[in-house]
C-alpha cells in the first residue's frame, strides 16, 4: 500500500512539474478564450452582407423579401437582359428573376450569379416565394388576409420538467449544452490521459527501469499507481482549466459583450440606410419584434442553468470522468505493456478507440432524444456510459438508471483493470517480440 502511494506520488509530481503540463494548463484556457473570442468576432464582424437584385415581372413580391444580416434585396425595374449584362462588375452578388407567369409556373424562377449561388440564398428565395404564392392562392380561393393572419401561429414551446414536487422551467437547450460539454470533456480526457498512461508504461518497459522496479513492487501496484497518479494529474489540470477559463470568460465576455452590442447597432443602421423606405419600415418592425436577442438570451441561459440539477451534474461528471478514465486507461496500459515502442500500439489501439468514438457519435443523437432506447442502453454499457450518461443527466434521468449505470461502470473498470493487470505483468517483461491478439489472450490465463 505504502508503495502504491509512493508510485502515485512520483507519477503525479513528475508530471505536474513538467514544463508541458504548466504550459498546457495556462495555454488551454487562453486558447479556449481566444477561440471563443474568435468565434464571436467572426460572427459579429465578418457577416458578409450580400446584395441581391430582384427583377419581379409578376409584380407580386415587392417588399416581400426580408432583409437580413446576410442578404439585402433590392428591387429593380430594368429589363432582364440589361440586368444580366450589368451584374458583372456591379455591387450586386446575385440576380433573382421572377417571371410574370410565376403563379402558373413556379419552377421558372431563375437566380443568376457570377460566383455561384449559395444554398442559403436559394432556399431563402424559394421559401419566401412559396409563402407568398401560397397566400396569393389562398386569397384567390376566398380566404381573406385577416383569416390568414389569425390562422398563423407562432409555436414555440416551453419545456417544463415535473420533478421533485414542483414545476420548474427547464431549458432543453441549456441541458444539451451542458451535457454536450461534459461528454466532450470526458471523451477528450479518456484519450489524452489514457494515451499518457500507455506511453509512460511503454517508456518504462523500453528503458528497462521496470526490471529494477518489479523487484521492489508488484506489477499490479506499479500499474494501478500510475493510473491513479495520471488521474490525479487529469483532475488537477481540469480543475485549473475550469478556474482559469471561468476567469477568462467572465473578463472576456464583459469586453466582448459591449463590442457585440455596439457592432450590432452599427450594423443595423448601415442596413437601414441601404434599404428602400418601405423595406426600412419592415426591417424596423422586425428589429423591434426580434431584436435584442443576445442580451435576452444570456440571462435565459443562466436562468435555465439554475433549473438544471447542478449538484447531480457535478458529482456525476466527476464520477463518470474518473470511471471512464479508469476503465479505458487500464486497457491503454495493457497495450502499452504489450508493445516495444509507441509505433507498435496501432494494431491494439483500434478496438479500444472504436467504442469511445462510437459513444461520442451516439451522443449527438442522444442530445436530441435523451430518453430513446438507444440512449438508455448505451448509458448502461460501461464502455459508452461515461459519455452517454453525461449527456442525459442534465435532462434528468431516473435514479434507478443512474444507480445501475454507476454499478455497471464500477464493475466494468474492476474488470478491465483485472484484465489489464494480467496482460501487464507478462507484457512488461517480454521484449523483442511482435505480440499478437492470440498471445495477449493467452497471457491473461498465465499463472504468475
Amino acid at each position: 500500500m505504502n508503495n502504491i502511494l509512493l508510485i502515485i506520488q512520483r507519477e503525479y509530481v513528475t508530471r505536474v512539474k513538467k514544463k508541458s503540463f504548466i504550459v498546457m494548463t495556462i495555454l488551454g484556457p487562453l486558447l479556449m478564450g481566444l477561440m471563443y473570442a474568435g468565434v464571436i468576432w467572426a460572427a459579429v464582424s465578418s457577416v458578409n452582407q450580400k446584395k441581391i437584385e430582384v427583377l419581379d415581372d409578376s409584380k407580386l413580391f415587392e417588399g416581400k423579401f426580408k432583409t437580413s444580416e446576410e442578404f439585402i434585396f433590392v428591387f429593380k425595374k430594368e429589363k432582364i437582359d440589361e440586368l444580366k449584362k450589368s451584374l458583372k462588375g456591379s455591387e450586386f452578388d446575385a440576380l433573382v428573376h421572377i417571371p410574370g407567369d410565376v403563379l402558373e409556373n413556379p419552377k421558372s424562377i431563375k437566380i443568376y450569379s457570377e460566383k455561384g449561388v449559395t444554398l442559403e440564398l436559394q432556399s431563402r428565395v424559394e421559401s419566401a416565394l412559396e409563402r407568398e404564392i401560397e397566400s396569393i392562392k389562398l386569397t384567390e380561393a376566398g380566404i381573406t388576409k385577416s383569416v390568414l393572419e389569425s390562422a398563423k401561429m407562432d409555436v414555440s414551446s416551453e419545456t417544463i420538467s415535473l420533478k421533485e414536487g414542483g414545476e420548474k422551467k427547464s431549458s432543453a437547450a441549456a441541458a444539451s449544452i451542458i451535457g454536450g460539454i461534459c461528454a466532450f470533456l470526458i471523451y477528450l480526457s479518456v484519450f489524452i490521459y489514457g494515451a499518457q498512461v500507455m506511453r509512460s508504461i511503454t517508456e518504462e518497459k523500453t528503458s528497462r527501469i521496470v526490471e529494477i522496479l518489479i523487484s521492489s513492487v508488484k506489477p499490479f501496484q506499479l500499474m494501478i499507481g500510475k493510473i491513479i497518479g495520471v488521474a490525479l494529474v487529469g483532475l488537477t489540470q481540469f480543475g485549473l482549466w475550469i478556474v482559469l477559463s471561468a476567469g477568462i470568460l467572465t473578463f472576456g465576455s464583459k469586453l466582448v459583450g459591449e463590442k457585440l452590442i455596439q457592432s450590432k447597432n452599427a450594423m443595423t443602421e448601415a442596413q437601414m440606410a441601404s434599404l428602400p423606405p418601405e423595406a426600412q419600415e419592415m426591417a424596423k418592425e422586425k428589429m423591434q419584434a426580434g431584436g435584442g436577442i443576445p442580451s435576452e438570451m444570456m440571462p435565459d441561459f443562466f436562468g435555465a442553468l439554475d433549473t438544471l440539477p447542478l449538484t447531480t451534474i457535478i458529482i456525476s461528471f466527476l464520477f463518470y470522468f474518473v470511471g471512464g478514465y479508469l476503465l479505458y486507461s487500464a486497457l491503454f496500459g495493457a497495450v502499452g505493456s504489450a508493445v516495444d515502442s509507441d509505433t507498435d500500439t496501432q494494431q491494439f489501439m483500434l478496438p479500444i478507440t472504436i467504442p469511445i468514438i462510437a459513444a461520442f457519435m451516439i451522443a449527438q443523437f442522444v442530445i436530441r432524444d435523451p430518453n430513446s432506447n438507444l440512449a438508455i442502453w448505451t448509458s448502461m454499457i460501461p464502455f459508452t456510459s461515461p459519455i452517454i450518461m453525461m449527456v442525459r443527466i442534465p435532462f434528468g434521468v431516473p435514479i434507478w438508471q443512474i444507480v445501475l449505470s454507476v454499478t455497471l461502470l464500477i464493475g466494468g473498470f474492476v474488470f478491465t483493470t483485472w484484465l489489464a493487470s494480467r496482460i501487464y505483468r507478462v507484457g512488461i517483461l517480454m521484449y523483442g517480440k511482435k505480440v499478437t491478439w492470440k498471445e495477449l489472450g493467452k497471457w491473461i490465463f498465465y499463472k504468475s
Partner: protein, 304 residues
C-alpha cells in the same frame, strides 16, 4: 536462523512452450560470493526472478534464511538486473531516493546513506542531473547504488560489469568484496569466467533448465583437473617414462622446450620431477589447474 541465506528445493518453472527450470535445487551459504553460471537461455534469469518473487515457481520451494520466502523479504534482497535502466528524465538524486523508498527505507535514512555513497563514488555534482545526461557507465554506478542502498542481506547481481571501463569495474569489484566483508551474500550471474575466477567462493552451473554442478569453486576446479603438468626445460627431449606420458613437446625460440606431461595414475608432481631431474635442466614445472573457462565448457558439453 539458518546457515544458508537461500535454499532452493526442487524448483520447477514452466512457460507456455518450454520448461525454464527443471527440478533445480541450490544452497547458498551466508557471507559468500556465489557464482550462478550457465549458457544463455539456461534458466538463470528465471531462477533469479523466482528469488525476487517476480514470478512464482510451479513446484518446489524457496527458503530465505531458513524460512519460506515472503513478501517482506523483498526488502532484504537487492537486485541488479542484466537489462537495466532508469527514468531518463528524472534527476539522479530524486531517482535514487524513490528507489530506496520503494525498498522500505524512510526518506531521511535514504538521504543519509545516499550522501555517503555520493561521497564514496565522488559523484556529488550529479545529484541534480537528469539521468539522460549521464554516460552508460555513470548510469551503471547509479544502478549499483540503488541495488545496495538498503543494505540487503542478499544481493543478486546479473552481469554487473557489462558496460564498465576497467577502472569502474575495479571500483565495483572492490565494493562487492567490501559488501561481502560486511556480511552480505552475493549471487553473481555472469559469463565472464575471469571475474568468477577472481571473486566467487561457490559456483553453480545451470544448463538446459537443469543444475549441472554446484559446490565450492576450488573443489570443483579440483575435480576437473586433468592431472597434467607443464614442464619448461633445457637439454635432451624428454620421453615418456614410468611415472608419466609425454602428451606434447615443442621447441621454444630461446632454445628451451615445453612439454605437457600426463601423470600415470597414482603419481603426482614430485614423482614426475624425480624422474625428470635426472635427465634435463628444469626451468619451470607447474601443475595444470583447470580454469573456470575449462570447467564451464567441459561441464556444459558433458551435460548436452
Amino acid at each position: 536462523m539458518s546457515e544458508n541465506i537461500l535454499e532452493i528445493h526442487n524448483v520447477v518453472k514452466n512457460y507456455a512452450n518450454h520448461r525454464a527450470l527443471d527440478d533445480v535445487s541450490l544452497t547458498v551459504p551466508k557471507g559468500v560470493i556465489y557464482g550462478l553460471l550457465g549458457p544463455n537461455g539456461a534458466g538463470k534469469t528465471s531462477l533469479i526472478r523466482i528469488v525476487n518473487q517476480i514470478t512464482a515457481p510451479d513446484a518446489g520451494k524457496v527458503l530465505f534464511n531458513g524460512e519460506p520466502l515472503t513478501e517482506k523479504n523483498i526488502y532484504e534482497i537487492g537486485y541488479l538486473p542484466e537489462e537495466r535502466g532508469l527514468y531518463k528524465k528524472m534527476k539522479v538524486g530524486e531517482q535514487l531516493l524513490y528507489l530506496a523508498r520503494l525498498k522500505g527505507l524512510s526518506k531521511d535514512a535514504a538521504m543519509d546513506r545516499l550522501k555517503e555513497w555520493f561521497i564514496k563514488f565522488d559523484i556529488k555534482t550529479w545529484w541534480d542531473k537528469p539521468i539522460e545526461d549521464l554516460s552508460k557507465g555513470m548510469q551503471q554506478k547509479i544502478q549499483f547504488v540503488a541495488t545496495v542502498l538498503h543494505q540487503p542481506k542478499l544481493i543478486i547481481l546479473d552481469e554487473p560489469f557489462s558496460g564498465f571501463d576497467p577502472i569502474n569495474a575495479t571500483l565495483i569489484k572492490d565494493e562487492i568484496l567490501e559488501l561481502k566483508e560486511k556480511g552480505s551474500t552475493i549471487i553473481f550471474s555472469t559469463h565472464r569466467m575471469e571475474s568468477v575466477e577472481e571473486l566467487c567462493d561457490y559456483i553453480a552451473l545451470i544448463n538446459k533448465s537443469k543444475k549441472v554442478l554446484e559446490g565450492k569453486k576450488l573443489d570443483i576446479k579440483d575435480s576437473f583437473k586433468s592431472n597434467t603438468y607443464t614442464l619448461n626445460y633445457e637439454g635432451e627431449k624428454v620421453d615418456s617414462a614410468t611415472n608419466f606420458n609425454v602428451l606434447s613437446n615443442q621447441k621454444n625460440l630461446d632454445g628451451s622446450q615445453t612439454a605437457v606431461l600426463k601423470a600415470s595414475s597414482g603419481k603426482f608432481g614430485n614423482d614426475l620431477l624425480r624422474e625428470i631431474l635426472e635427465k634435463v635442466t628444469v626451468k619451470s614445472f607447474k601443475e595444470d589447474v583447470a580454469s573456470m573457462n575449462d570447467v564451464f565448457i567441459k561441464a556444459v558439453n558433458e551435460s548436452n
